[in-house]
Symmetry: none
Subunit: 316 residues, 2 copies
DNA sequence: CATAAATTGTCAAGTTATTGTATAGATTTA
DNA sequence: TAAATCTATACAATAACTTGACAATTTATG
C-alpha cells in the first residue's frame, strides 16, 4: 500500500472539491486572495491538501454558509486555531487509498471501536481526524459515535470488555461530542430547549447526541444531563420558560417514572412542548402510550426532525 | 494579544440582521443618528460587528420592543455599560488601561456563577469568551472553574439552588473543561497517565481539571472517570502499562476503599507510580497515612506539580 | 384641542467592496 | 496521450456603503 514509506496525508484538489463541496475555482481564489488554506505543493506545483486543511475548509465553509464573509471566516479560523479552540485533526498517516473513495461508516466504526478496546488512544485520535476530514460532525454523531456507544454498552453487558475499558471508551467519545456541542455562537435568540434524563436515569449518551445536533442547527439548548427530579425540573421550567422539554429514559424504571410528569409540570407557565424518547420505549413499546406528551420516535435523527418540526410549527 | 474573544469584530451586517431581526436600513440609521453600536469597519468600509455589539443590539432591541424609544434605550445601554452593569469593557478599552487592570478572577467567578444561577447561558458564553481572550485555559481551570464548581456544590448543599440548576451549571462547566482536554497540542508519545475516581466515587470534577492541566502540558492521559472498581482497573493497568495512576476520592467511603489498592494492583507489571488525592484527604487528614502510594497534596495545582516532578525523575 | 416639531423606520439612486466563475494557454500527472 | 491542474486575467453577481428624502408616529407647544 504505502510505497514510499513517508506517506504524508495529502489529497489532490479534486478530492477536496468532492469532499467539501467547494468548487476548484473557488479554492484557487481563496488561496490567492487569503492564503487559505495554504496547501502544500507537489514537485510539479499541484496543490496537496492535508486532512487538517480539509477540516479547516469544512469549518470555513460552514461559517460562510451561515452568512459570514469568507475573509472574516478565515481570520476567525486562524484566531481560533492559534488559541487552540478549534478542533483540528492531527496530521496522520493516511494511505493513498482514501483518494479514490470515502471509507464506509461501518468500517470506520469498527476501526474506532477496535482502537478504543485496545486502549490505543493515539490510533483513535488518528481515526477521528480522518473521519472529520471527510464527514461532518452531524454525520459522525449519528453514524459513528452513536452506534459505537451502543456497541460499547453491549460489549460490556456481554462481558467482552471490563468496566474500565467501557469507561475509557465512553468518556473518549463523550468528550468529542461535547466539543462539538460547545463551539459556535447561538445564532437564534429566544426560548431554549431543555434536555434532561428521566429521574433515576444515568445514561446520558443519546441525550448528549441530541444536544449536539440541536446546537449545531442553532437551537439554544439548556443541558441538564442525568437524573433530574421532577420537582426541580418544574421549578427550572417555570424559571426559564423553555419552548420545549425533552425527557429521555434508557432503562425501564425511569421510563415508568416519566408517566408522572404532568403531576409536577402541568401547572407551570409557558406550557412548553414536552417530548420523550429513549431505548426504554423501544424495548417496551407499551410504555409509549402510558407517558403523556409527544413520543419523539425510535432514533435520534427521527427525534430531532420531529422536535424541530414541532418547534417550527409553534414559531408561526 | 488575542483577538478571538467576543470583542473581535467579525460579523458582517447581513449576519447581524438575521440574528437580531433589525433590518439593515435601521442599523444604518442607528449608527448615523446615535453612533450605535459603532461597529468597526473592514478595509473597504463595510461594517464589522463583534459579538458584544450583537449583544448590545439585542438588549436595545428588547427595550425598544417593550416600549422605550431608541434614543433612550441607547442612552440607557451606555449608562449601564459605564457602570459595568451590562457589559464588560471591550478589548480595545481594556488594553488602553494597564495590564494590571485585568478584571480580577474573583469578580469573573462571581459573574459567571451569577449568570449560571440565573440560567442565562448566552451571558455565560459571553463571559467565557471574554475570559479566554485574557487568560489561558490553565488559569481559568484553576482560578475560575474549580472554585466555581466548589461554590455550586456548596450552594446546592445549603439549599440556595435546586438540583436542576446545579446540573445545568455543573454540566456547563464540565463541558468547557472537556473541550479543553480534547483540543490543544498532540500529546507526546509514551506511556500514559491513568486518571480514575476511587470505587464508588461519583464526583469527577477535580479529576477532570487535573486531566485538562496534564493534557495541555502534553502528557498522554487515559481518562477513566467516576467509580472505577479495582478489579477492572488492575486489568486495565496490566494492559496499557501506564507511567502513573492517579486515584481521587472526594467522599470518605471511597477514600477508605482506596486503602485496599495494593491488594489488586501491586502484582501488575510495569509498576507505575500510584498517586492519590481529593477533598476526602483534606477533611480527614488521618486517611492520608492509611492509603499506600504518593499523596499528591491539597490542591489541584499542587498535585499537578508533584505528579510532574515524579514523572520527570523517572524519565531520566 | 389643534398644530408644530421631533423622532423614527423605510426607500431609492448611484457607487464601491467582496466574492464566485469563466476563459485561455502552459504544465503536470496517471 | 488524455485528463487534471496550474497561473493569470477578466467579468458578473451579490452585498454593502452613503446620502438624501419622505411618510408615519410620537411628543411638545400654543
Amino acid at each position: 500500500m504505502d510505497k514510499s514509506g513517508s506517506a504524508s496525508p495529502l489529497y489532490n484538489i479534486g478530492v477536496v472539491t468532492r469532499v467539501t463541496g467547494v468548487p476548484i475555482a473557488t479554492l484557487h481564489a481563496w488561496e490567492r486572495r487569503y492564503g487559505f488554506p495554504d496547501a502544500a505543493r507537489s514537485a510539479g506545483g499541484h496543490r496537496l491538501y492535508s486532512e487538517k486543511d480539509i477540516a479547516r475548509l469544512r469549518w470555513v465553509k460552514s461559517q460562510v454558509d451561515s452568512g459570514l464573509t469568507v475573509s472574516r471566516a478565515v481570520i476567525a479560523a486562524r484566531a481560533l486555531e492559534a488559541n487552540g479552540r478549534l478542533f483540528l485533526p492531527n496530521e496522520s498517516e493516511a494511505s493513498q487509498k482514501s483518494q479514490s473513495s470515502r471509507i464506509a461508516f461501518p468500517s470506520l466504526r469498527e476501526s474506532l471501536l477496535d482502537a478504543l478496546f485496545h486502549h490505543n488512544l493515539p490510533r483513535a485520535d488518528q481515526l477521528m481526524g480522518e473521519m472529520l476530514a471527510f464527514y461532518s460532525p452531524e454525520d459522525l454523531t449519528l453514524e459513528v459515535i452513536g452506534p459505537a456507544l451502543n456497541a460499547i454498552g453491549e460489549a460490556w453487558e456481554q462481558g467482552h470488555i471490563t468496566i474500565a475499558t467501557e469507561h475509557l471508551a465512553t468518556n473518549y467519545l463523550r468528550h468529542r461530542l461535547l466539543m462539538w456541542m460547545v463551539t459556535g455562537l447561538t445564532p437564534r435568540s429566544g426560548d431554549s430547549i431543555v434536555l434532561a434524563c428521566a429521574p433515576g436515569e444515568l445514561h446520558e449518551g443519546s441525550l448528549l447526541m441530541l444536544g449536539v445536533l440541536l446546537r449545531r442547527k442553532g437551537w439554544p439548548v439548556a443541558y441538564l444531563g442525568q437524573n433530574v427530579p421532577f420537582h426541580d425540573l418544574a421549578k427550572f421550567i417555570d424559571d426559564i420558560h423553555p419552548s420545549a422539554v425533552v425527557l429521555v429514559a434508557i432503562c425501564e424504571e425511569p421510563a415508568r417514572a416519566l408517566t408522572d410528569w404532568p403531576h409536577w409540570i402541568n401547572q407551570v407557565g409557558g406550557h412548553p412542548i414536552i417530548g420523550f424518547g429513549g431505548r426504554a420505549f423501544i424495548v417496551h413499546p407499551e410504555l409509549q402510550g402510558m407517558v403523556p406528551g409527544v413520543y419523539l420516535g425510535t432514533s435520534i435523527s427521527e427525534g430531532m426532525t420531529n422536535l424541530v418540526s414541532l418547534l417550527q410549527r409553534i414559531e408561526k
